[in-house]
Symmetry: C2
Subunit: 153 residues, 2 copies
Amino acid sequence: MSQDRIQLESSVGYLLKEASSSLRAAMEAVLRPLDMTVTHYSCLELLAQRPGLSNSDLARGAFVTRQSMNVLLHALERDGSVTRPAQAPAGRTLPVTLTPLGRRRLEQASAAVRSVEARMLRGMTPQEQSDAFRVLQGMVRSLRENDVPNGQG
Amino acid sequence: MSQDRIQLESSVGYLLKEASSSLRAAMEAVLRPLDMTVTHYSCLELLAQRPGLSNSDLARGAFVTRQSMNVLLHALERDGSVTRPAQAPAGRTLPVTLTPLGRRRLEQASAAVRSVEARMLRGMTPQEQSDAFRVLQGMVRSLRENDVPNGQG
DNA sequence: GACTGTATGTCAGAATTCTGACATGAGTCA
DNA sequence: TGACTCATGTCAGAATTCTGACATACAGTC
């Protein structure tokens, strides 16, 4: 029975979870002084790169449900970091855009997060970094093949 | 969905989050029919490999706070999957152990999770798998160096 | 022995995220 | 046109996890 047991410490899945957890903790640590969470930052970063993304787009990009992203967007609107039109220009999707304030907030957060990523990648050669990239992409692709994209509801 | 500036998508940190999120989603999908969550499964797996781990040990191993692990352990005790002595044999740590029922539940879950991990690793050569292992370990080590182990309180 | 630092288990409350459900808009096809 | 499918935004409630705080236990130091 326990012959085929997954050895957690030697499991790539476990290590993936550990690495992701460590990265998230490190990001939270540097974002906390800015009163930002990781999802918070991810949302702003996505918007800076692709202005006009919808709530659902942002949810997929930040790996949360669109309901969670919606409450975050409401907070960001109250905060003055983003804006959404009162009415949808087409269909039901409301394009979200950064305000100048949101852009300033993002600049601070981005600098902090860059330092974390740099720390994570230090000690890795460019070759190893591209290995990491390729390997992680392969994992995502394999896992996505039999799965619904972002099933909910 | 235009894609001019893709900085996030080319970030190893983002890809790490994506891979971890995909893995978690895939695990949740196969564990749901068994009425188990990922943390649930992680706890049982850890206990199978190291019987007698404490609540805090399990929390660290499952990457949650010891408060969260505590509520999970209470549920598992009610469920009859694990047991804890009423009094600590030494110090304050209460060693947790799997019951036969917990072991059976774990067997089912373990089989399901193995299939997910196999799917994730398919298409990767043994060389690539060991690359992934080494690279992820390096990331964890770099991130941990300036961080508290499991700071809380 | 007394003190300090660290780690544990636990309680209480808050914050975050999720599941379920509904109505709306767009695209497809007969 | 009408039926069907799919995606979106949103509301409501539940579940999960976290933060803050407290008392206890052990190891080390003075």
